[in-house]
């Protein structure tokens, strides 16, 4: 009796392994870490390693996305937009896309209002990040979670 139990357990373990293996074959096993590293690298490329504070930036997008191919995104930054105090750049990133960058905009005091709206492709449920650089050189950001039901452009499981 005990021998049979062990055999079944071993069989189940092997079977589970056999099912899981082909699914993992398409993506490297550390894909989550790789994408996180790519996102951190993309942010560092913009900030140059300067500290980033949370606040002043607001992302307006649906928390539940039916179709990831065209997701309306609106980014607003709190700023008086004067010559002395304005927003210099606004960047938008996603965590789960093959490349983290979505758009990088350069504004100035002549923008009048620090608001940018566009439509993005979001590959999968995860974080999206908006990063703004002010005229004094400081960086501010907001990070939110979004849920995607139909993901964009990843039908073959490529990164």
């Amino acid at each position: 009796m005990t021998t049979r139990m062990t055999t079944r357990r071993t069989f189940l373990a092997l079977a589970a392994g056999a099912v899981a293996a082909p699914a993992l074959a398409q993506l490297p096993p550390n894909i989550v870490a790789l994408r996180r590293a790519a996102l951190d690298e993309a942010i560092r490329k913009v900030t140059g390693g300067a500290p980033v504070r949370t606040g002043r930036v607001k992302i307006d997008m649906p928390p539940l996305i039916d179709n990831g191919n065209a997701v309306p995104v609106e980014i607003t930054v709190e700023s008086p937009m004067t010559a002395a105090d304005h927003v210099r750049t606004i960047h938008f990133f996603t965590e789960k896309n093959p490349q983290p960058n979505v758009i990088g905009a350069t504004l100035g005091p002549r923008a009048g209002r620090a608001r940018l709206a566009t439509r993005a492709r979001i590959a999968d449920t995860g974080q999206v990040i908006a990063l703004a650089q002010m005229s004094d050189g400081s960086f501010w950001m907001e990070r939110i979670e979004v849920v995607v039901t139909l993901s964009a452009c990843l039908e073959d499981g490529l990164i």
């Binding site: 191919n69 065209a70 997701v71 609106e74 996603t94 896309n97 093959p98 490349q99 960058n101 979505v102 758009i103 990088g104 905009a105 350069t106 504004l107 100035g108 002549r110 923008a111 009048g112 209002r113 608001r115 940018l116 709206a117 566009t118 439509r119 993005a120 492709r121 979001i122 452009c153 990843l154 039908e155 073959d156 490529l158 990164i159």
Partner: protein, 106 residues
């Protein structure tokens, strides 16, 4: 020929912040997709957008494959003087599109 649509008010008061909506007809092929035969489809996207107001740059953006097809970019500017706003999109495979809009500031 590249097709673009730009929406902005024809007239504005001096100092008013106006909204400019721009849309460029483009597939924005990401370069991450494959055909049925498994051949990678090369990237073909708009990479940059620029708006100048009477020759002075007021807005610029770099675009990446993660922007949806027919990229829509909405931004704002202060109506400072009458004149023209020029919009220019450039991208892969020598893609360029331009649009000029007139604005009257009263």
């Amino acid at each position: 020929m590249a097709r673009v649509v730009v929406t902005l008010p024809a007239t504005a008061r001096k100092g008013e912040v106006i909204e400019i909506r721009t849309l460029a007809g483009h597939e924005m092929e990401t370069g991450f997709r494959r055909t049925e035969l498994g051949v990678a489809i090369p990237r073909d996207i708009i990479t940059s957008f620029r708006c100048t107001y009477n020759g002075v740059e007021v807005f610029r953006a770099e675009l990446h494959p993660a922007l949806a097809a027919n990229p829509l970019i909405t931004f704002h500017t202060v109506a400072t003087e009458s004149g023209k706003l020029e919009f220019r999109w450039t991208g892969d495979k020598g893609y360029t599109a331009t649009h000029v809009a007139q604005i009257t500031v009263v």
